[in-house]
């Protein structure tokens, strides 16, 4: 059993007042308590960006790697010990800019990991440049005349790339986000939770009220297993037209299941030992 107290670290979060990361922090801790994630069963990685500071504020074993590279690190961890719940904290710049290649290939391969993608549509930590998810035309420090590029729609990209669980949550709905995180981890396969997150300091367009006004929850009778429908829903974006909830779900063998050598036990359950390779030598004779 995990309590909120168990997850507390001596470090106080340094996010800006009003930052969406507080909502993600709260939802993740709530989910850990609800689902029983602890240091015997869980590990997470983070990239670089405001999201990356999360390693300091949640007392679960973690690895803060390099900008954009949290996904391959997590994939390696899962191969080594697939008994662990493996989470990736990443941002829109981290995951779609620097790490875009890793993101699409991880989706395609279907590692059994969960990607929590903080999407504030801006580079926050570097003080407000355009990101791959910034709206076209938006003025930022690096696009004073307006962003000339079309943004990625994160959930749409994830479904198209082959992720088998794609959901969208909002930092203003901590309870809903908590449930999505748990559902994503329970899913067998690569899960992406796109988290709409206001950056109150550097992205005035994606404000809390903007998301409050324009998001809606997918109806109960929505069928997330219909891929064509999921792609249509994932591309939906506009006034009162931003769907939240589980957009897509599919059953497909996970990357780790392709390796019979870890069908019975995890890779690290057997200690590294000297192997007799005389047979390999003989083949060279």
């Amino acid at each position: 059993m995990t309590t909120l107290q168990d997850l507390a670290t001596p470090i106080t979060p340094n996010f800006c007042p009003g930052c969406g990361n507080f909502g993600i922090w709260a939802a993740f801790k709530n989910a850990a308590v609800k689902a029983g994630w602890d240091n015997h069963n869980t590990v997470f990685t983070a990239g670089i960006g405001c999201h990356g500071h999360m390693v300091n504020f949640v007392k679960l074993t973690s690895f803060e790697g390099l900008h954009g590279r949290a996904i391959p690190v997590a994939s390696g961890m899962k191969f080594a010990n697939h008994a662990l719940n493996v989470f990736v904290f990443t941002g829109d710049g981290d995951c779609l800019g620097e790490g875009g290649n890793h993101f699409i290939h991880a989706c395609r391969r279907n590692h059994n990991i969960t990607i929590l993608l903080h999407n504030n549509s801006i580079y926050g930590l570097t003080t407000g440049q355009t990101s791959p998810a910034t709206y076209k035309g938006q003025k930022t420090k690096s696009t004073p005349d307006g962003n000339p590029d079309e943004p990625f729609l994160v959930s749409h990209l994830a479904v198209a790339a082959g992720a088998t669980f794609v959901a969208r949550g909002f930092t203003g709905d901590i309870a809903g986000l908590t449930d999505l995180m748990i559902a994503a981890n329970n899913h067998q396969g690569l899960s992406v939770v796109e988290i709409l997150q206001p950056c109150v300091t550097f992205n005035k367009e994606c404000s809390p009220s903007f998301y409050m006004e324009n998001t809606y929850k997918l109806p109960e009778d929505y069928d997330p297993e219909n891929k064509a429908l999921a792609l249509a829903k994932a591309i939906e974006w506009g006034p009162k037209q931003i769907p939240l909830g589980i957009i897509y779900r599919q059953n497909r063998p996970v990357a780790e299941s392709e390796f019979p050598q870890i069908a019975e036990n995890t890779l690290i359950s057997k200690e590294a030992s000297v192997r007799d390779i005389s047979e390999l030598f003989t083949k060279q004779h």
Binding site: F63, L66, P72, A74, G76, L267, S273, Q284
Partner: protein
């Protein structure tokens, strides 16, 4: 056959004509007849067409490198004869396609020509045209006086898994070629490949295979690699054997992912590696420092090729030395070792896994194309003394566990995720627990901790450079990596010359090397680099300035002839 004499046979043709497999088969005939071999391949970065050639040098003595001269040429196309004609010794033998009616000019006076209807024989034997290589091989076996049964066995081994009728057709083609030469050219060439009285079983193994074998034997658990010439064969061997030996090999989407996946697996407790060439290592440099900063053990194989940029993908160079020693921003303990041949690659790779775990830092093993792709014959490597050292780890659950605890040695016990302890592997500067920090005291303590591991490694593990040849010599050659091969061959001709072979590049054996160099009468640095990077490093570390340098950077290996010429000219001018 004089024990010291070596013979050189070349097989050339277009990519797709089975040049490499014929060469491998030939070299194994030589080894199974009791000789030592060295195989050297040259091929363009192409799949079909272009000119491919494999050279087998065989001798009763150990063979360390290719040579420039050719005693026997198997030409599967005319280009082979044209390109390699200048290398032929007087009265060299040439097996080639009779039906092609090549205009060979005055070659018939300088060489011995053995025209054979290769394609016709292959066809009449019911084998595909590619079996022409085995027809030529059959004839060659006859001409050199080897046993045909060896070839027959090796064809079956080379084609193992294929349809039995195909194997038999290939064997028939080879036998017909053998008989054709027996009848038409009996004793047309010296029987230099007669089976010796005593034959001990030996491997024919290249550097890539040796490295993969070393990793498997050393308890490898995880490898993630992206393909790149000339090291891809490391991944091929790892991929083919993973189910049998129980480790995981995963091809990544790029080198950045390959190294980060390996770091993730290592962090989670798996003995991990990756492998690449210079261009791929460019992409990996980011992860190189990440492993250093997070103190995550990792073995990285860097098989150099001719750069910069795409350079010459299937040719060699020793141009990455400074790059590997300094790549990644900032300062962290880099352990860098370099192999001089497949055997060294085997033992250094095994050792690299222990060093990575012991010092919790990345260890690079450098090879180059001339090691990666070149086979040598060895008795099975004996590693009965090898023990796995996973370094300091802990499974004790401790609420105050400090992953980056300040210790006297600089090494702190590792714990693994899922074992119960909380800790953070952090690329940001960190406290002992792993939390972000920017304080002066934490920064200084952690920098000092990380860097002192290299001092400990120098003290406890670093080996002194190896000296080949007499202790007291007129000339001392200094080099590293595959250059060793050409140098050792040259040394056979110059008993008054010795060779200093540097395997440890970081930490660097300053004391022992300085002593050797200061004792030497005349120094020549031999390097496949235009800027003599090793000589520069030696000057930086020891103060010894090696003034005479034998450098080349044309992608080709150092041939003993070139080194010998330089030695001779220095000796005569003295």
């Amino acid at each position: 056959m004089d024990q010291s004499i070596s013979y050189s046979l070349k097989i050339g043709g277009q990519a797709g004509q089975g040049v490499k497999s014929a060469g491998l088969v030939f070299s194994k005939i030589a080894v199974r007849s009791g000789y030592n071999i060295f195989n050297y391949v040259e091929y363009p970065s192409l799949i079909k067409g272009g000119h491919n050639v494999i050279q087998t040098i065989f001798s009763e003595d150990v063979v360390n490198s290719p040579v420039q001269s050719v005693n026997f040429l198997i030409a599967l196309d005319l280009a082979t004869i044209k390109i390699h004609q200048p290398e032929l010794v007087n009265q060299a033998g040439i097996v080639y396609e009779e039906e092609a009616n090549y205009d060979l000019g005055d070659l018939s006076t300088k060489t011995r020509l053995f025209p054979i209807p290769l394609k016709k024989i292959a066809k009449e034997s019911g084998a595909p045209e590619i079996a022409s290589n085995y027809v030529a091989m059959g004839a060659t076996v006859s001409l050199l006086g080897a046993e045909f049964a060896l070839l027959k066995d090796l064809i079956a081994e080379d084609l193992a898994g294929k349809d039995i009728s195909l194997i038999e057709a290939n064997q028939k083609a080879a036998e017909t070629g053998f008989n054709y030469a027996e009848e038409k050219f009996a004793f047309g060439f010296e029987h230099i490949l007669q089976k010796r009285d005593v034959v001990s079983p030996k491997m024919v193994i290249n550097g890539n295979e040796a490295i993969a074998f070393a990793a498997i034997s050393a308890g490898l658990q995880f490898a993630s690699i992206y393909p790149m010439s000339p090291v891809s064969n490391v991944m091929h061997v790892l991929a083919a054997n993973q189910r049998k030996y129980g480790y995981i090999f995963k091809q990544a989407e790029d080198e950045i992912s390959a190294i980060n996946m390996s770091i993730g697996a290592s962090f989670a407790g798996a003995r991990s590696m990756t492998s690449t060439s210079g261009g791929g290592f460019c992409l990996m440099t980011e992860g190189y420092g990440l492993a250093g900063m997070t103190e995550t053990p990792l073995v990285i194989i860097e098989g150099m090729r001719a750069g910069p940029a795409t350079g010459m993908p299937t040719w060699s160079e020793q141009g990455d030395l400074r790059f590997i020693l300094h790549s990644h921003q900032g300062e962290f303990p880099r352990i860098v070792l370099a192999a001089g041949d497949p055997k060294e690659a085997f033992y250094l790779t095994q050792e690299a896994f222990n060093l990575a775990d012991k010092y919790q830092t990345p260890v690079v093993v450098i090879t180059d194309k001339n090691i990666c792709d070149s086979e040598q014959s060895y008795e099975d490597f004996d590693y009965s003394n090898y023990r796995i050292d996973r370094g300091q780890t802990t499974t004790v659950i401790d609420s105050e566990y400090k992953r980056y605890q300040i210790t006297q040695s600089g090494v702190s016990p590792r714990s693994f995720p899922g074992f119960g302890n909380h800790f953070i592997g952090n690329s940001d500067e960190h406290t002992e627990f792993g939390y972000d920090t920017e304080t002066i005291s934490d920064r200084n303590a952690q920098m000092e901790k990380r860097l002192k591991k290299l001092d400990l490694c120098a003290k406890e593990d670093m080996a002194a450079p190896e000296i080949f040849g007499p202790a007291d010599a007129d000339i001392t050659l200094v080099s590293w990596g595959s250059t060793k091969g050409g140098v050792l061959e040259a040394l056979k001709r110059h008993p008054n010359v010795n060779y200093v072979h540097v395997k440890w590049l970081s930490p660097f054996p300053v004391g022992p090397l300085k002593e050797i160099l200061e004792r030497a009468k005349y120094l020549i640095a031999v390097e496949a680099s235009s800027t003599s990077q090793l000589a520069g490093l030696i000057r930086e570390k020891t103060g010894v300035d090696i003034l005479d340098k034998l450098l080349k950077n044309d992608g080709r290996p150092f041939f003993p002839e070139e080194i010998s010429d330089r030695i001779t000219s220095v000796l005569t001018s003295k």
